[in-house]
């Protein structure tokens, strides 16, 4: 629809059959209908027959509505949950390899401490740091590390869960 609402990002959780080809069906749907995926994670769940996808999409409310409906039409999709008006937890993990000259290590360690991260590997001129948290926290940690020189970076993509006792 052509309504001009600024694009936002939404997190949706999709429960799918744990079967070959399911990821292709879901990602293919996004590609052919022109929906933008910002991040997508897939993992097993407590039920071995099911996988759980967490997809972060950019788009207005109409787009989100269409995405939800189109996903529902896929036979492998059991449930789609969009967290609209639902208190939720979102987490992401980053592994970041930063340039660490011996004289700047202390400074880096201090920042790691502030972000409640962990140093998981260290070499002569580099260290690997692990930080978890919401997307904003990781963005700002990344920004802090830029001054030292990020050599490599990998983020898991977002995962999400409802707060409280309700489940998807």
């Amino acid at each position: 629809m052509a309504t001009a609402i600024a694009a936002q990002t939404h997190t949706i959780t999709v429960l799918v059959d744990n079967r070959p080809g399911v990821l292709a069906r879901v990602s293919g749907l996004f590609a052919r209908r022109g929906y933008n995926i910002e991040s997508l994670t897939v993992s097993i769940t407590d039920n071995p027959n099911m996988s759980r996808m967490t997809i972060v999409v950019a788009g207005d409310a109409d787009t989100l509505e269409q995405i939800t409906k189109q996903l529902h039409k896929l036979i492998d999709v059991h449930k789609v949950f969009d967290y609209l008006d639902t208190p939720m937890l979102e987490r992401e993990l980053v592994l970041l390899k930063v340039q660490s000259e011996p004289e700047r290590r202390a400074e880096i360690l201090q920042l790691v401490e502030i972000f409640r991260g962990k140093v998981v590997d260290i070499a002569e001129r580099a260290m690997v740091i692990e930080v978890t948290g919401g997307g904003d926290k990781i963005d700002s940690f990344e920004k802090q590390m830029e001054t030292f020189g990020i050599r490599e970076l990998v983020r898991t993509g977002r995962i999400a869960m409802m707060r409280g006792s309700r489940t998807v």
Binding site: M1, G28, L29, E65, H72, L74, I75
Partner: protein, 597 residues
């Protein structure tokens, strides 16, 4: 029932029997020989050997369209499967229930680029409701029943089952009754009609001053045409249909506005443009209907009936949406609407538009010219419209939609969504198998489209099908030529079809009667001859070369931009056909040959 032991191929046929399949359209090949060996011994099933898998796919579509049953087609692995792709996509776009069965290379060589290997489940993923690669024979019987269930439930559509050759040969022990009881928890198709929404719809209807019913193929798929008619007659609301809605409402009814959209009637489009309530029943606001969406029926509230929740708010936001079977919904709605609602002013306005801007056609009475529209009108008149009509895609398709005057729901079979040239002939053959030998099926085609699946003629001959093929031959790819004339300064790039086979001789070569009609005086005799002749007949109507389909709302534009008839041109712009600069309207065959040399 106890478990039985059978090969995969035999189990597949057993599932077809249980699903009520009587006919399949297919083409054998290495990967499906074990299946064809079972078909060889099979008694309940008629197998029609097509001449190209695409034709088989369209036959399955035509059969399904005409009967409402699930169409079944078969292709072998690799090219056999990829040849089905166009038909599968066509069925997806037009919501036709179809099960495509394809062979696959042996499981152990899948992924190794084996001979005639194609990843057909990957290829058809976006154009099927669902598909399966069955690597384990134990899954095959269940998957087959799931396939039929998904194809026909909810919004119908195509599915594909890909079966490696060794799975056909492997032995499965299963209970055929048990596998029929399928349950797919993630597949929801039986949406219950929401009573509150129906009530809200009735409220909007009661307030409407300028309402229009906009009826699509979904109304026919649900078998809701009598309810659409009841609603229209009770309220007195006018009805316009989409291309696929044609036949859901008889066009001789005074409430009928005919088809809307790009080549819809002027009065249907004006009615929608000025409406204050648009009641969409099984229609999906296709771009050929809406043109520029933001300007489409700007002042109208929208009630949208659809069985597919994904269609609601996809293109146009609905004020009231009713998800579910539209027959069920209309039945709930009917008692709530008032028959005394006064819309006489609106009706008078519609009548005025209808009088001012009728659908125009040239019967050749003044100038002796033979026009495609006239041929279609004569076919309709002489057959008393008691026939099934299939079309190909292009100008002739739009003229058929405008001028035939459909009366009944499963009468008009066309490729609407995908717009597949080559659809008409195989669809007519499939439809003829569906409706039986006592009903003629007319394939209205163009000289371009017809050549795309011409090889299926032999199937009509072999089975002596009463398929009457009317080629409206204007020696052009007419619709493209029309756009080039109207929007591309007459740059007739690659639309000249003057050099074509002699269609009468083609008919004869394929063992059927061929007739040529070059004069408006011979139209009736030609049609009558075709009707009197048993079995298939091919007619080559040499119609006026350069005429356009009107009215026309150019792509992506609005009713305000509608071109009702050919503008009176003061000066013909010079044509710039690249290989024949002097006169493109009447290409001379010899000159074309010279250039080719």
């Amino acid at each position: 029932m106890a478990k039985i032991k059978s090969t995969g191929a035999k189990a597949l046929l057993e599932s077809l029997r249980r699903e009520g399949v009587e006919i399949i359209f297919g083409y054998p090949g290495g990967a499906v020989i074990p299946l064809y060996d079972e078909i060889y011994h099979c008694e309940f099933l008629q197998h029609v050997l097509v001449r190209h898998e695409q034709g088989g796919g369209h036959m399955a579509e035509g059969y399904s369209h005409a009967t409402g049953k699930v169409g079944v087609c078969i292709g072998t692995s690799g090219p056999g499967a990829t040849n089905l792709v166009t038909a599968i996509c066509d069925a997806m776009m037009d919501s036709i229930p179809m099960v495509a069965i394809t062979g696959q290379v042996r499981t152990e060589v899948i992924g190794k680029d084996a001979f005639q290997e194609a990843d057909i489940t990957g290829i058809t993923m976006p154009i099927t409701k669902h598909n399966w690669l069955v690597k384990d024979v134990n899954d095959l019987p269940r998957v087959m029943h799931e396939a039929f269930h998904i194809a026909r439930s909810g919004r119908p559509g195509p599915v594909l089952v890909d079966i490696p050759v060794d799975v056909f040969r492997a032995v499965v022990e299963y209970d055929p009754d048990e596998v029929e009881n399928i349950e797919i928890s993630s597949f929801k198709s039986d949406f219950k009609v929401h009573k509150v929404q129906v009530k809200r719809a009735a409220e909007l209807i009661a307030q409407a001053k300028q309402p229009v019913l906009y009826v699509g193929g979904g109304a026919k798929a649900a078998g809701a045409e009598h309810l659409v008619q009841a609603l229209a007659h009770k309220t007195g609301f006018p009805v316009t249909t989409t291309l696929h809605g044609l036949g859901a409402f008889p066009e001789n009814d005074p409430l009928s506005l005919g088809m809307l959209g790009m080549h819809g009637t002027a009065y249907a489009n004006l009615a929608v443009e000025h409406s204050d309530l648009l009641i969409a029943i099984g229609a999906r606001f296709d771009d050929r209907v809406t043109g520029k969406v933001s300007s489409f029926a700007q002042n109208a509230k929208v009630i949208h009936f659809d069985i597919d929740p994904g269609e609601i708010n996809k293109v146009r936001r609905a004020d009231v949406s009713i998800v579910g079977n539209c027959a069920e919904a209309l039945e709930a709605l009917l008692p709530m609407v008032d028959e005394t609602q006064d819309i006489s002013e609106w009706r008078a306005q519609l009548d005025a538009w209808r009088t001012d801007m009728p659908l125009e056609f040239n019967d050749g009475a003044n100038d002796g010219t033979l026009h495609a529209e006239w041929v279609i009108r004569e076919i309709a008149r002489l057959t008393d419209r008691n026939v099934v009509v299939t079309t190909d895609v292009g100008q002739h398709q739009m003229w058929a939609a405008q001028h035939f005057g459909m009366r009944s729901p499963r009468q008009f079979i066309t490729s609407g969504g995908l717009g597949t040239m080559g659809f008409g002939l195989p669809a007519a053959i499939g439809a003829s198998f569906g409706v039986g030998p006592d009903k003629d099926v007319w394939c209205i085609s163009g000289d371009g489209s017809f050549q795309m699946c011409i090889q299926e003629l032999i199937v009509a001959t072999i089975y002596k099908l009463p398929v009457k093929i009317a080629i409206l031959n204007n020696t052009f790819l007419g619709m493209v030529r029309q756009w080039q004339e109207m929007f591309w300064q007459k740059h007739y790039s690659s639309v000249d079809m003057e050099r074509a086979p002699d269609f009468v001789k083609v008919a004869e070569a394929y063992g059927m009667l061929g007739l040529r009609c070059e004069s408006v005086d011979d139209v009736e005799a030609t049609i009558r001859k075709a009707m009197e002749t048993e079995g298939p007949v091919l007619m080559d109507f040499r119609v006026v070369k350069e005429t356009n389909v009107y009215p026309m709302i150019p792509s992506g534009q609005t009713v305000g931009d509608m071109i009702v008839r050919k503008p009176q041109q003061v000066e013909e712009p010079e044509s710039t056909c690249h290989y024949q600069p002097r006169d493109t309207r009447m290409p001379v065959v010899d000159e074309v040959v010279d250039v080719a040399r």
